[in-house]
């Protein structure tokens, strides 16, 4: 059993194995709407390899982080739908 790390997604705590990709942990927290387009349409991970920028979320106050390119770190504060 891998070590667990705990992150917060929109105030919801979720524990995942260390090394988990952030986008996967966000889905595990029940979120599918990662962000909104300029016209307010829902957006979520598409390419999974850092190209499409659809999976952007705010991590520790920093906007526009590509969640498919980050690994979860203990204590991360993630905000979606911004």
């Amino acid at each position: 059993m891998a070590d667990l790390v705990t992150i917060t997604v929109d105030s919801v705590s979720v524990s995942v194995p260390a090394g988990t990709v952030l986008a996967a942990a966000i889905v595990q927290a029940g979120v599918t709407r990662f962000r909104r387009s300029t016209k307010g349409e829902p957006r979520g991970p598409l390419c999974g390899m850092g190209i499409c920028f659809e999976c952007r979320v705010t991590v520790n106050g920093r906007p526009h982080c590509r969640s498919c390119q980050m690994l979860c770190e203990d204590g991360m504060d993630v905000r979606t739908d911004e």
Partner: protein, 377 residues
């Protein structure tokens, strides 16, 4: 045989577009030609600031007249023009520049503009991401920003509604002293008059025209809504924009519709290519960081460079050639062409049809820079 037009306008940038809209509204049969797509020159490279400037009385007259026209047009602009009446904040870094703020306030107020002097504390409240320690600033309430290429397209649509024709991908090679133009493929198009509105391309059509290319760089960031709220310009901008020789940078940022931040500005003569000059870009961004330290946390999406068509006296050329009343000019607007496009179109149309102009047109008459120089064709 091609049919005949009253006016053939060469250049589908914002100046040519505004000229086409006004000439066609005046009942003239208008044709607009451009070698590229709409707004592909200076218009597409520009920030899109609608700003009143007072380097000279003539510049103030043209910019403030144009701002009135923009405000009148604003309710009719489609969403993609992104008209945002965010105002301009002129930033004073020190007490010397603060004195300039008060001079500017007196002048603008005397001319009936809405302005507001901000001290250090109210400046920080108005724009919390500006660095501390600035002396203050001047808010010019009715300045605005737009997205220039869509404004040019809108103005051309207006012209078409009035019966104008717009043809892109057509290269003009000469302006006929007896009216009309010659195309690169040898075709001639007849018209009562031609208008050289080709911006940086205008000297190629009129050899000897005193219009030089002045290069500029821009950077646009990802979306950070609220990071800035006004178009912000350092008063030092006036010093660097005035300089007609040295390469210079000045802090100038603007909020775009979706929360993006557009960062300028730089000025270079004798830099023909429109490729990014990394050294100028670095200098420009460093200047911006001095005023907005938080910019370093924002990610840039894109940077680009373009050219402005500059004249020696910082005023555009609007009116007939001193050598032929069949050849007219609407060019040389440098960095103010987005602002002054509408006034240019109005003046040009009024002069062509012989109506009185709403502001004196003499300061922009091409003859001031062309007369007495027999070599200029």
């Amino acid at each position: 045989m091609s049919k005949s037009f009253d006016v053939v306008i060469v250049g589908a940038g914002i100046v040519g577009a505004a000229s086409a809209a006004e000439c066609s509204r005046a009942g003239l049969k208008v044709l607009v030609l451009d070698r590229g797509p709409i707004g592909a020159g200076s218009t597409g490279a520009a920030m899109g600031h609608l700003v009143v400037m007072d380097d000279s009385e003539a510049q103030f007259a043209l910019t403030s007249y144009s701002l009135q026209l923009w405000r009148r047009l604003a309710p009719e602009l489609p969403d993609d023009v992104e008209y945002n009446p965010c105002g301009t904040l002129w930033i004073a870094a020190d007490e010397e520049e603060m004195a300039a703020v008060f001079r500017k306030k007196e002048y603008y107020e005397g001319q009936g503009l809405r302005v507001e002097v901000l001290d250090a504390a109210s400046l920080a409240a108005a724009e919390p991401n500006l660095r501390r320690g600035l002396a203050g600033g001047l808010r010019v309430v009715d300045d605005a920003v737009i997205y220039p290429p869509c404004a040019a397209r809108f103005l051309l649509e207006r012209a078409k509604e009035n019966g104008a024709e717009v043809r892109t991908g057509i290269e003009v090679s000469s302006l006929d002293a007896h009216g009309g133009v010659g195309l690169a493929d040898g075709t001639r198009i007849s018209a009562a008059i031609s208008v050289n509105a080709a911006g940086c391309g205008s000297p190629a059509l009129t050899p000897g025209l005193p219009v030089r290319k002045r290069k500029g760089h821009l950077v646009v960031t990802d979306r950070y809504p609220g990071f800035i709220r006004h178009q912000i310009v350092e008063l030092g901008y006036l010093k660097s924009a005035h300089s007609v020789s040295a390469d210079s940078v000045a802090f100038n940022v603007q909020p775009r519709g979706a929360g993006q931040v557009l960062i300028g500005s730089s000025r270079q003569f004798d830099a023909e290519k429109s490729e990014i000059d990394q050294d100028m870009l670095r200098r420009m961004l460093r200047r911006a960081l001095e005023f907005l330290p938080g910019l370093k946390h924002l990610s840039a999406l894109r940077s680009w460079a373009g050219h402005r068509p500059a004249t020696p006296d910082k005023l555009p050329l609007i009116g007939p050639s001193p050598e032929s009343d069949k050849v007219w000019f609407a060019t040389g607007h440098e960095g103010l062409g987005i602002t002054t496009s509408l006034a240019t179109g109005k003046l040009l149309a009024d002069l062509i049809v012989g109506r009185p102009t709403e502001i004196p047109a003499a300061p922009y008459a091409p003859e001031r820079l062309l007369k007495g120089d027999a070599d200029h064709g």
